[in-house]
Structures are given as C-alpha cells and as structure tokens.
C-alpha cells in the first residue's frame, strides 16, 4: 500500500481515535508531573492540568532532604536491576543454549522439567518458607537468586537459537572449539535481538518489583527499594481516603503536602524507565515478533 491514495473518512476517524488514545495514555503522566512541580498549597485549589501554575522544586527538595530511605532505595533499585538483569539474562541464555543443541543427551528431560514449572508452582507459602530456610531473608541476594530463571525467557531464547544454522556449530567444532566457547563467541552475539528483549523484560520486572521487599526485607532500611517506598506512601494516602478535609487544613501550613510529595516520588520512580525504554524499543519489537512467530 505505497503512496497515499484518496484519504477516506475511515482514515480521519483513525487519526482522531489514536490522538485520543495518546491523550488518554499520556495525560495522567503529564498531570502528575505538573502536580509534582507545582507548589503544594496552590495545588489544593485544583484546576491544574499539564502545566504547573506555580512552579517549584520544593517537593523534590523535600524528598531528598527528609526521606532518608529514598536515596538508599534508589540505589538498591538500580543495583538489583543491573545485577539481576545481567545474571538473569546470562543464566537463561546458557540454559537455552544447552537446550537448543539437538544432540544434548538431557535435552528432552530438562526441557520437560522446565516447562512443567510454568504450570505448577509451589505457592506463596512453600516459597516463603524455602527462602527463609535458605537464609536469604534480609539479604540482598533475595532479589537476585530466587528469580534467576524464567521458563518463558528460556523458551524464547531457545526458539531463536533453534533457528540458527547448524553449520555454525559444526565448523566451530571442527576448529576444536568447545561448547562454551561456541556459545560465548558465536551464538550469543547472533542472538542480540532476543537477548535485548529478554534483558528488557527482566530489567523492568526488577525495577518494578516491591512484593519481595515486602515479604523478605520489610523492616530493613538498607534493603528497601524505590517501588516499595512509593508503595508505602501510596498506602498511607489510601488509608486517609476518608480524611481528605483534615489533610487540607494541614496542607495550608506546610510548604509541601503528602499529595504533592506522592506525585514527585511517582515521577522519580517513572523517569528511569522513560529514559531507557525508547532506545530499546526497536529491539524488543523485533525480538518479540521473532519469538512470537517461532513459538
């Protein structure tokens, strides 16, 4: 369908429809951004949409000066995302590689072992007790080790590797390379789209997770994560859903309000994703497409 033929009413409808979609998607973010950059007492008057009326950085200043848990939370979130993604991707890729080698004697058995876990899981309590018994409670490793392998990711990578020509391995083997070298130097570089996709999935999962903090490191300030802190603040806000009026009175006396602080933290938690994801977009769309077609 190259070239622009006659523009129909349907085309116009589509454009309008998708403009609305963009508005509905973006407005909440811009709104929260505006509120976070707006003076708290002024915000109470309402009527702010996507442009701050009385610009201020006070909300952010307040966060970074009073909330002592936040810098640590941010650091932990970054650490677990980077370490968790690196280890997770490598683990899934190595396992996927072994399962993609058709001559591997345990290929079928390990594959079945893997797929089974997608349907039956131990459940919250047994997993909780296991983590406890392994001594991972209140330790940073609890963010990394229990989530190392995801059957789905392994299968996506494996499907891609299955599609690579056998000749690659054969010629390398004739040159005397062992499987690990082949994996590292030949196969892995060719899998970049899928690797990037899986890395993105894992990274987003790591960045956004807070439930493991809640279960295993709830009262440990040195292990808190950004989303967990944000969640706690949101919870406080929910509890006072019926106390809006008393909040108003208090707000007038402070330069920041719980609401405006909440907005600022939301933006802080969102910005890293916003920065990273447009760049990886082309990777995961290709990767996902290939994965979908092959699966």
């Amino acid at each position: 369908m190259k070239g622009l033929k006659r523009i129909t009413a349907f085309d116009i409808f589509l454009v309008i429809f998708f403009i609305l979609v963009c508005i509905v998607t973006l407005y909440p973010f811009l709104h929260v951004l505006a509120l976070s950059l707006n003076d708290a007492t002024d915000a109470v008057k309402g009527g702010i949409h996507i442009i701050p009326r009385e610009f201020t950085l006070d909300n952010y200043r307040h966060i970074f000066s009073t909330n002592t848990a936040l810098p640590r939370a941010f650091l932990n979130s970054v650490l677990r995302t980077v370490i968790g993604t690196a280890t997770g991707v490598m683990s899934c890729a190595i396992l996927a590689y072994t399962l993609s080698r058709k001559h591997f004697m345990f290929r079928k058995s390990i594959s079945m072992l893997l797929v089974f876990t997608m349907y039956i899981s131990g459940g919250l309590i047994p997993e909780f007790l296991l983590i406890r018994n392994l001594g991972l409670v209140n330790r940073f490793a609890v963010y990394i080790i229990p989530g190392l392998i995801s059957a789905f990711n392994v299968i996506v990578i494996r499907s891609f590797m299955d599609g690579l020509p056998d000749a690659l391995e054969e010629s390398a083997k004739m040159d005397g390379a062992n499987d690990f070298t082949i994996f590292l130097k030949i196969i892995l570089p060719l899998c970049l789209p899928v690797i990037a996709t899986v890395a993105l999935f894992i990274a987003v999962g790591q960045w956004n997770s807070w439930f493991d903090t809640y279960l295993y490191a709830r009262n440990n300030e040195s292990l808190t994560t950004l989303q967990f802190e944000l969640m706690k603040i949101l919870e406080d806000a929910n509890i006072t859903v019926s106390q809006v009026n008393s909040q108003n009175a208090q707000q007038l006396m402070n330069r920041v309000s719980p609401t405006s602080v909440r907005m600022a933290i939301t933006i802080i938690a969102t910005v890293p994703i916003l920065l990273v994801y447009p760049f990886l977009q082309k990777y995961f769309v290709t990767g996902l497409t290939i994965g979908a077609v092959k699966s």
Partner: protein, 323 residues
C-alpha cells in the same frame, strides 16, 4: 565398512545420533561434559527453587508447626480444604478473583485485538510509530505507579470528575474509589489502560504474516475496508488469538493481589479481596502455614482445570477450521 560410508554423508548431529546407539552412557557424558556443566547449575536451581516448594504441598495435609521436623508433623488429611470451602470470606475471594479475572480477560482481549486491527489500518507511518511507542508506556511502569495515577485521576477533584461535570453527565463529583460497586470496573479499566498497547504487539506481528494476496483478492471481489478486516485480517490472526486465549484462561485465577491491594481501600475491601490476598492474610498473616498452602494448591488445581477446559474447547473449534 558400510556404516562408515553412511556416516560420511550425514551431518554432525545425525552422526551423533547414530553413534549414540552404540555408545555407553559414560562415554556420552564425557563427550558432552561441557554442555552438562553449563546446564547443571541451573538444573540444580530449578530443583531447589521450583520443585522443592512443590514438595511443600504436603504441608497442606498437616497441621504444620515450623518448630517440628517433617516427620513430627501431625497429619490432618483434608481438614484444611474442608475448612476452606466452608469459609465465607474464601467464597467472596473466589468470586472476586474469577469476576475480575474474566472481566479483565474479556475486555483485555477486545481492547488489544481492536487496537491491533485499527493500528494496522493506520496509514501515516510516523504517527503510527509514535502512537505505538506511547501505547507501550503504561505496560512498563509498575502497578504502584499506575495505581497512583488512577487514584489521582479519579479523585473528587481529579480530571475524570472535572470532565464528566463539564460535559453535564454528572452534577457533582463522584468519589469513584470509594464506591464498592465500581471497584471491579475500575480495576478492569486500569488493566485495559495498562496492557492494551503491549498486548497488541503479538497480534500485529501475526498480522504482518498474512499473505497480502488475500487482501488483493478480497478487494477484487469488491470488499470494502471493514469487510477486508472481518474476512481477511481476523481469520488470519485467529490461531494467535486462540493460543493466547487458552494461556490467559488458565491464568485467570492467578491474578495476584497487587492491583487490588494498591487500588483498594477499607471501603471497598470486600470487593478487593482476591485469593492470593486471602492466602496472605489468613495464611502467612495468621501464621497458619498449612491453611495458606491449601489455598495455593486449590489455585493451582483450578488453573490446570481451566487450561484443560480451554484447550478442549479450542480443539473443537480448531477442527472446524480445516477448510
């Protein structure tokens, strides 16, 4: 001698398979030791972190006390399950879980498929790419953030209320988050907002695989745009839809409690209680590990049953598909 000349014509893999039959296991292990060493740590990982917990299912049939060893536990058979099925709160949780699960499923599918169909028809390339990029964004943000956004938008002085009052649909602002009857709808709407763009990707990938010749043929037959969508595009992505539907139906009962917990509050607590939350509150929360495990087992069982039903249903439709 014949064997050797046969071997010369086979590829490496076939050679291995042929030789394997005559080889002892130990020789094989020695040959594949690098592969085995690569896979070994992760198999151990699987056993520890995925299979050991399944052994924990036995706890559901005991009166588990952490201080006793495994053999010192008292066995209570199905008592916990019986107690579970008689608990009103559990029935509420089950109703909520399935209700919100299926609502999310139905509207999610409708939204993603419609979105994919419409985006596929959009002809302005740059705008199309921009819209797609924007539409993925909610998927990447956490539910904590989404809940925050939703709460802000639905507040009495929030954008939704302002819009509805402005349009004359409402006279006074409504406190949406405090209306029990609206909770299911709010959760579903939030899910649709969050996952439609992302969910459409798979359908778009499938659409890219449809033979353009089919569209041309339809056009020649006089089909207009809508008809082409209904008779070419939709059937073209039918297999994808069905596979995803089966996988999703199996997961309906597995919706965690994250979104309900974040979007809920004391006023809508009854509508927000889902099975996972129930297990957390009445299981871990009360240190009733056995009871909580029983809930988890129930969930897995329902999930498997749902998958089988969905799969069987799809097979029936699938057979009719062969034309």
């Amino acid at each position: 001698m014949e064997e050797v000349s046969q071997l010369k014509n086979m590829s490496l893999n076939e050679e291995f398979r042929a030789l394997k039959k005559g080889k002892s296991k130990w020789k094989q292990i020695k040959e594949q030791k690098v592969l085995i060493m690569m896979a070994f740590p992760f198999v151990i990982w699987l056993i520890i972190f995925r299979y050991l917990p399944i052994l924990g299912w036995t706890m559901a049939f005991q009166d588990y006390k952490p201080q006793n060893g495994f053999f010192e536990q008292e066995w209570v058979g199905f008592d916990h399950f019986i107690e579970l099925f008689q608990d009103q709160m559990f029935h509420q949780a089950l109703r909520n879980t399935l209700g919100m699960g299926f609502l999310g499923l139905i509207f999610g599918f409708l939204a993603s498929i419609t979105f994919a169909l419409l985006i596929n028809e959009l002809r302005f390339k740059k705008f199309k790419r921009f819209t797609q990029t924007v539409s993925y964004l909610p998927h990447f943000v956490s539910w904590v953030i989404v809940a925050n956004l939703v709460t802000t938008m639905l507040a009495t002085d929030g954008a939704v209320n302002q819009l509805l009052v402005f349009l004359g649909i409402l006279d006074d602002p409504v406190h949406f988050m405090a209306q029990p009857r609206m909770f299911w709808g709010i959760v579903t709407a939030a899910e649709v907002w969050k996952s439609t763009g992302w969910g459409a990707i798979i359908y778009l990938a499938a659409m890219a695989g449809i033979d353009p010749g089919l569209y041309e043929a339809a056009q020649v037959d006089g089909a207009n745009r809508l008809q082409r969508i209904i008779h070419v595009t939709l059937p073209g992505i039918r297999p994808t839809i069905i596979v995803l539907l089966i996988m999703s139906i199996g997961n309906v009962i597995n919706i965690g409690f994250e979104r309900q917990m974040l979007l809920g509050n004391n006023i809508v607590a009854n509508q927000a209680l889902v099975i996972e939350r129930y297990a957390l509150d009445y299981g871990i929360g009360l240190f009733r590990f056995s009871y909580g495990t029983a809930v988890g087992i129930f969930r897995s069982m329902i999930s498997i049953i749902l998958i089988f039903i969905a799969n069987g249903f799809a097979k029936k439709i699938g057979e009719g598909r062969i034309m």
